[in-house]
């Protein structure tokens, strides 16, 4: 510990991984990140997800050292990295457009970081490059030019390049977004497998909520430069903490209502009574937003029964998605039962499938 207030504290804390403590970033006076605090555990796969412009990439760039925060502290491996330039932060980064050096071969790309950092475990650079190319299934492609490779191959090389010097943290900025859907799903399993194999602390940025849920240990949902919710994929999906999270993550139905009773808890929406899960902490007269996932709604009776008209039926392969109209409000239903357009049907909602978001703001 030092006794001068503005000296940088480089004492390792107990926690490793990445820690953000009250990070704010402003561009030309416009706030891009507003007081972000989060902590990524060592070896964790942590994903920042949100719509474009929400600040997720800025957060990643702040960790990498490309955007110095206007306020707050970032710690990597427990040490503050304030004033440390990107080249000294011991990170590996992968971008959406691969950013392979077109003037170097695949091998030279993968080996570039080894010009400045030692290979882990006293390997020779050549052996390390071979090992990494092997890891990403690109053995034998070392002498190609990056431009000769497909998008998926280029992204594998970019991943190998980022991992070659054995960085403390791997940063991935929308790495799969430029690839077509099938390849994207295949490659995200590869990324997850490699991360598990190496046990490397990973911060992953994506706008694709399905991708975020599929591969992460924990997810942070961002909106407008702020953190909306941090949690496991299941928690984020099942217990959204805000209207934004409820609608951004997966399909959802939102109902605006008022709490009428507390024992048992009950609310009313446009005159329609809704039973709330037992033990809900609500008080009478409170305005609430209720959310119900489309797959939780059944055709037929339930704790709440809504009579709707089916406007549109989409066949998804494993199910049908019904676009229904209930008193002018549209309701999505995912069901295996076939219905005809313009049918009037009853929808049943079980009280335990209702989630409550308190309208605090």
């Amino acid at each position: 510990m030092t006794d001068t207030a503005d000296a940088v504290d480089r004492t390792p804390s107990d926690e490793s991984g990445v820690e953000l403590d009250g990070i704010s970033v402003a561009f030309d006076g416009v706030t891009a990140l507003d007081d972000i605090s989060l902590s990524v555990a060592e070896g964790e796969f942590f994903t920042l997800v949100g719509p474009s412009g929400c600040g997720k990439t800025t957060t990643l760039r702040a960790i990498a050292g490309f955007e110095p925060p206007t306020e707050g502290t970032i710690r990597i491996g427990g040490r503050s990295v304030e004033g440390v330039p990107p080249e000294e932060r011991d990170i590996g980064i992968v971008f959406q457009n691969y950013a392979l050096f077109p003037n170097m071969t695949v091998r030279e790309n993968v080996g570039y970081g080894l010009r400045f950092r030692d290979s882990p475990g006293d390997q020779s650079p050549a052996a390390r490059i071979d090992e990494l190319l092997d890891l990403v299934d690109m053995e034998g492609m070392g002498d190609r030019d990056p431009t000769e490779l497909s998008g998926g191959q280029q992204q594998r090389v970019a991943l190998a390049r980022a991992l070659a010097p054995g960085p403390e943290v791997l940063l991935l900025d929308e790495p799969l977004s430029a690839l077509d859907a099938q390849l994207r799903e295949r490659l995200r399993v590869t990324v997850r497998d490699i991360q598990q194999e190496l046990g490397i602390t990973t911060v992953y940025v994506t706008h694709d909520q399905a991708e975020a849920l599929a591969i992460s240990d924990r997810v942070a949902v961002m909106s407008d430069g702020r953190l909306e919710q941090v949690g496991t994929p299941e928690a984020i999906y099942r217990e959204p903490a805000s209207r934004f999270v409820a609608t951004f993550i997966g399909d959802n139905n939102l109902f605006e209502g008022t709490v009428t009773d507390t024992a048992p808890p009950r609310a009313t929406i446009d005159g329609q009574p809704f039973l709330l899960p037992a033990g809900s902490e609500v008080s009478a007269g409170e305005s609430v937003t209720l959310t119900v996932r489309p797959e939780a709604i059944e055709l037929g009776d339930g704790d709440a029964t809504l009579t709707v008209t089916v406007d549109n039926v989409e066949f998804l392969g494993d199910a049908y998605r019904l676009h229904c109209d209930w008193q002018g409000q549209s309701i999505l239903v995912k069901t295996s039962a076939w219905t005809q357009t313009d049918d009037a049907v009853e929808l049943g909602i079980d009280r335990d499938d209702v989630r409550i978001i308190l309208d605090s703001d």
Partner: protein, 597 residues
């Protein structure tokens, strides 16, 4: 570690400040000193020099009444109309505009069929032909003038051929026609290139939509294609007018004082040491050309959005067997090809042929031997050839050393979206808009004759002033080549390299420089070609000193009427110039260089 980071952060700003300082001293200050003579005398502002010029019928022709007797102008015009609009006296400015207009018409006439051919027909060598439309841009104009003398002069190639055929001889040297033709040599390719590019960007689907809606082929051309061609045609015509309005070496060498344009007359005034009058003329000319340039930029700005990105019109094969000779359009284009060959290839070919042909028509290497000799031949006056060649090469290298860093720094500033970088770019590219003659006068009056600063008199040697002037003329072309390459570099490449542990300097050496290498090489070849061919300011700065270059020597060889043009040595030296600039062109072309201003 911190010091290194500071050095990295300061390198570009420092280079920028240095570049601005160089520009201020060797461009803005000298040019300002020229302009100030026109509006400033005896410590106060004055209009006298400007009025002297504007009220002199020699300069302004009938327009001088606008300044001497403006009230009588409407009556004068009425009388003139009643008299059936007889020819009027144009004056120097009027004649300059008149020849520019004729040159523009000739360039459009010669360039348009070429655009049609390139855009609409497929044939072997089409891509090469398109690249070659750039070539005139790097050919020194005094060399082209020598080519025209070699082709059309009294002892030229054309008359040799006519003589052999027993058809007598023609004499079109020192006429307006030959000047207009030489201007067309330069500017018709510009018309071809710009219009062909517009033609190729016409989306075939728009034409097909018009046809599907009932328009005939001609109607679809008129309604869909033509509106997309006109802006580019107007752009090319406007640029041609500006270029030929400011034309100097072509008019000087092929016309002389009898057909002088403003620029030539300024030069003549400087030669007779009438510097104040020259400065006034230069001021008026620069104002006029800046006005034209402003009109051009405004117009260009409005046009730049039209890129459709659709499928271009399909090209027809040009050669279709014997049918080629029955199709009127193809016959027309073949005829055009013959004319184009005569205008574009003729002068350059004549140049090379005459350089190895003796007075008796036999092969000779005497002229090339002369180039390497240290003495002067009587026919070439006092201008020795070898120093000219050596000077040109040395100045070319000097120009590279100065223009490359300047051009690259400006490119970096232009591509980083910093506040004020647009303004900075304008200030830094202004040298393109001021003629070499004006800069030459300015440098002569300030740096060469000497400037008193802090009680000391600073003078710059002629050769140094020449390199400075060349660098000023050349660095915008370095910028034009490097800036797009820098702009297309992905910022993520830099980020990726830094995340792997490379410092900012290492990133520049390992990634950025290799990726913009081709553009830098193209810029260098450009700068070298500009320097080797520069005539306008060199001819002023090299007078009376042993620092003349090849273009200056060329002008002396063919301009010495008392001795008669000594075509042999001139063509030999011009061929050397042709070889150097053609080599530069090949480098530029291979490196994917850019010419558009």
């Amino acid at each position: 570690m911190n010091e290194r980071r500071w050095a990295e952060r300061l390198a570009i700003p420092l280079g920028f400040v240095l570049t601005v300082a160089v520009l201020a001293v060797v461009f803005y200050y000298p040019v300002w000193s020229v302009f100030s003579q026109a509006v400033w005398s005896d410590g106060g502002p004055t209009l006298a020099p400007l009025l002297d010029v504007l009220t002199d019928p020699f300069y302004t022709g009938v327009a001088h009444y606008l300044f001497t007797d403006p009230l009588a102008v409407p009556g004068g015009i009425a009388t003139w109309l009643q008299a059936g609009m007889p020819a009027v006296e144009l004056g120097l400015f009027g004649f300059t505009a008149y020849q520019a207009l004729l040159s523009t018409v000739a360039s459009v006439a010669l360039g348009l069929p070429g655009a049609y051919l390139l855009a609409r027909y497929e044939f072997t060598g089409r891509e090469t032909l398109r690249s070659l439309t750039i070539l005139p841009f790097v050919l020194p104009s005094i060399m082209v003038a020598v080519g025209f003398v070699a082709m059309f002069g009294s002892q030229g190639f054309l008359n040799d051929v006519l003589g052999l055929l027993g058809l007598g001889s023609i004499e079109i040297l020192y006429t307006l026609e030959i000047i207009v033709l030489a201007h067309a040599f330069y500017n018709a390719p510009l018309v071809t290139r710009l219009v062909a590019a517009a033609w190729e960007s016409v989306d075939v689907r728009r034409v097909e939509t018009a046809r599907a809606m009932g328009a005939s082929r001609m109607r679809a051309f008129r309604d869909v294609v033509l509106p997309e061609l006109l802006p580019s045609l107007l752009t090319a015509a406007l640029l041609t007018f500006i270029f030929t309005f400011m034309s100097f070496p072509i008019v000087l060498a092929l016309g002389g004082l009898r057909l002088a344009t403003v620029e030539v007359w300024i030069f003549a005034r400087v030669q007779s040491l009438a510097l104040a009058e020259a400065a006034t003329l230069a001021t008026i000319e620069t104002v006029l050309s800046l006005l034209l340039l402003y009109v051009y930029l405004r117009y260009e700005d409005r046009q730049s959005s039209a890129s459709s990105g659709g499928t271009p019109l399909a090209r027809r094969p040009f050669l279709v067997g014997w049918n080629t000779l029955t199709d009127l359009r193809r016959i027309g284009l073949l005829t055009y090809g013959v004319v184009a060959l005569a205008v574009f290839v003729g002068p350059l070919l004549s140049l090379v042929v005459e350089s190895v042909t003796g007075p008796n028509g036999a092969f000779t290497t005497a002229y090339y031997e002369f180039l390497l000799s240290r003495q002067t031949a009587t026919a070439s006056g006092t201008t020795r050839p070898l120093p000219a060649i050596i000077n040109s090469l040395v100045f070319g290298v000097g120009t590279l050393l100065l223009a490359m860093p300047m051009g690259i720094v400006v490119a970096v500033v232009a591509t980083r979206d910093l506040p004020g970088s647009r303004l900075a770019e304008a200030v830094l590219t202004a040298p393109l808009a001021v003629s070499g003659v004006v800069l030459g006068i300015g440098l002569l009056q300030t740096l060469v004759f000497g400037t008193v600063l802090f009680g000391h008199r600073f003078t710059v040697l002629g050769p140094v002033a020449i390199v400075l002037a060349h660098a000023i003329a050349a660095y915008p072309f370095v910028t034009r080549n490097v800036a797009p390459a820098l702009g297309s570099l992905d910022d993520r490449l830099v980020d990726a390299a830094r995340s792997l542990g490379a410092t900012r300097t290492r990133v520049m050496l390992d990634v950025e420089l290799p990726l913009i290498g081709a553009a830098v090489t193209a810029g260098a070849a450009f700068a070298f070609a500009i320097s080797v061919g520069e005539f306008d300011s060199t001819v002023l700065l090299a007078s009376n000193v042993d620092s003349y270059t090849m273009p200056v020597a060329l002008e002396r060889y063919i301009g010495n009427r008392s001795l008669g043009p000594s075509l042999g040595p001139a063509t030999a030296m011009a061929t050397v110039l042709l070889a150097i600039t053609a080599a530069s062109f090949v480098v530029i072309d291979r490196m994917g260089g850019r010419w558009d201003l």
